[in-house]
Symmetry: C2
Subunit: 331 residues, 2 copies
């Protein structure tokens, strides 16, 4: 177990999409990870998502000594007490819901606690960051936000376009999250978030999870721990510590075919996909200081070295997510 | 049978969504209707659409003396020779395809020859006319247009927003259709089409089907045959006769619950739907001169009275659609 700064501090990662295995769950335990928000749908439709949930139920049975399905903040406390990691379900795309607003309640009942209103493309709800145009929140999007607010399912706008994010913050009666992204002022890429978005997020009580996916990092896979932690320090200076957490976007052990699926789904024709070149896509190499769930101790050390107090490090490593989870899940 | 102006003229209605029955098929025969494009999906998903196709296969079996499933322009000729009405399938929404571009080929194989890129709302492909913002054709929309072009499935933009229509005309390698709408210059409503759209449609070899749905008519249900035919005459003066046809949008015998389904689908919460008031929704009353498939003779007479030649009347009543079908269906 990693040394914890205090009994009350929690280590929470608000986004992972690993190729789940006994090894990874063991590393979560070795790393002292109390809770992880895991992605259970990118492009999956309703039925495929149900299958993914069934796969997780099997993992909870087989690896019940290490992981447990969590639906509330208190489930993290229970997981800690029993020496396990709490697993929260989330969608990175509203595809499982299709055009049926009632399915949100169905999936809430199945334990889903986060949903991105878009992945990279336009959805029925909002615009993804890779579209040429950003039309904001749609008619159905307004209905969905109202229903997610009622249920206590977190609106996640990590992959959405600027106007769509700003409108979601405005329309949502409850704070929203960008579970995995970094400030665009540090690493300018449309996937990272502008100061305008971060300010609106901060003012509304929302949360930002810092990503350690190389494409979101300055210098990519070569980004140093110090650079990463200095970026967090600059973000804290601008927007305060309270909205900051981690959403590492760790895609450990995933084959290149999964990158292909994430990018192309079923919406792109073979003719548009680039043929053999596309088939050779690979996930980028992780920075050496963060390659698995044992490495959170490096991040905590880096934050201390960057000047954060012990209390601030605790808040960023999980305390802020814990507070957000407490007020976000449930009606 | 209605008197035909010539042996070579065809009577084609490029949009109906009736509550199909033996009575309606009999009226098609009495009215001398050679072909009808029927809507087989509004909000239906893949599986529900397959069910609707199965329902049509049953109708073709039971009423095989009056109707026949058509997939090509030549099928209209065959239908005429055997005294039947040719039925073409179309979607008013891409919901049956979801996010899977390959399903277009599947549905093409099942006989689908038209697809609207949107119904009233934002879709994965384009913006519907009731959205606040119109972001045009999406990333997936471009893929879908290319695939529809390849297959020979007609892009229909009847319910789409202005920019989305203009971009679809531009992006599509083959002429597109607005199967059921009228000029907004005559009846200003966002569902009708601007002169800018009609001009782009005309210049690109596209088609406009005039609607007799009361909400698209000046004076609604009270619109006179003369007003309707004068509108067609003015449209012909501006854009020529070649792109003009009929797409009556006849929703004969449909109960009010179907209007509710069309408007609300599954995307709107009960809380937003207006409760009891919404449940009392009804289809508007048809103008007295067009209430069923026997009444096309009135429209033909009205067009003559409005100054069109016999040849022009033939073209508008079906000849133009026949030419468009010949060049549009198939690879």
């Amino acid at each position: 177990m990693a040394a914890k700064n205090s009994e009350q501090s929690y280590l929470i990662d608000c986004l992972q999409y690993a190729r789940w295995s006994e090894k990874i769950f063991s590393e979560m335990r070795e790393g002292g990870v109390d809770a992880v928000h895991v992605t259970i749908a990118y492009h999956e439709d309703f039925r495929e998502t149900v299958r993914n949930i069934c796969d997780w139920h099997r993992r909870f049975r087989v690896h019940g000594d290490m992981i447990v399905h969590a639906k509330s903040a208190n489930d993290i406390v229970c997981a800690r007490e029993t020496g396990r990691t709490a697993i929260f379900f989330g969608f990175q795309n509203p595809s499982p819901v299709g055009d049926d607003v009632e399915l949100l309640g169905f999936f809430y009942g199945a334990g889903v606690r986060f949903m991105q209103l878009t992945y990279n493309n336009q959805s029925l709800l909002a615009s993804g960051y890779l579209e040429n145009a950003d039309s904001g929140i749609t008619r159905m999007g307004r209905e969905v936000i109202a229903e997610m607010n009622r249920l206590g399912m977190v609106v996640d706008m990590s992959h959405s376009a600027e106007l769509s994010i700003l409108q979601a913050i405005e329309l949502s009666a409850r704070p929203i999250a960008v579970t995995h992204a970094n400030p665009a002022s540090w690493k300018p890429t449309p996937r990272n978030k502008s100061d305008r978005v971060l300010e609106a997020l901060s003012k509304s009580g929302g949360m930002l999870g810092f990503s350690i996916y190389p494409n979101h990092l300055r210098n990519g896979s070569e980004c140093t721990l110090d650079e990463f932690c200095q970026m967090i320090a600059r973000t804290a200076e601008k927007f305060g510590v309270d909205m900051l957490g981690l959403g590492t976007d760790l895609c450990q052990d995933q084959p290149g075919s999964v990158v292909e699926w994430m990018r192309r789904g079923r919406w792109m024709r073979d003719e548009s996909a680039g043929g053999a070149a596309a088939e050779n896509a690979e996930f980028p190499r992780q920075p050496e200081w963060f390659s698995c769930n044992r490495d959170f101790r490096n991040v905590a050390s880096g934050l201390r070295a960057a000047g954060f107090s012990i209390q601030e490090v605790d808040a960023i490593m999980g305390g802020n997510w814990m507070r957000f989870f407490k007020s976000s899940f449930g009606g």
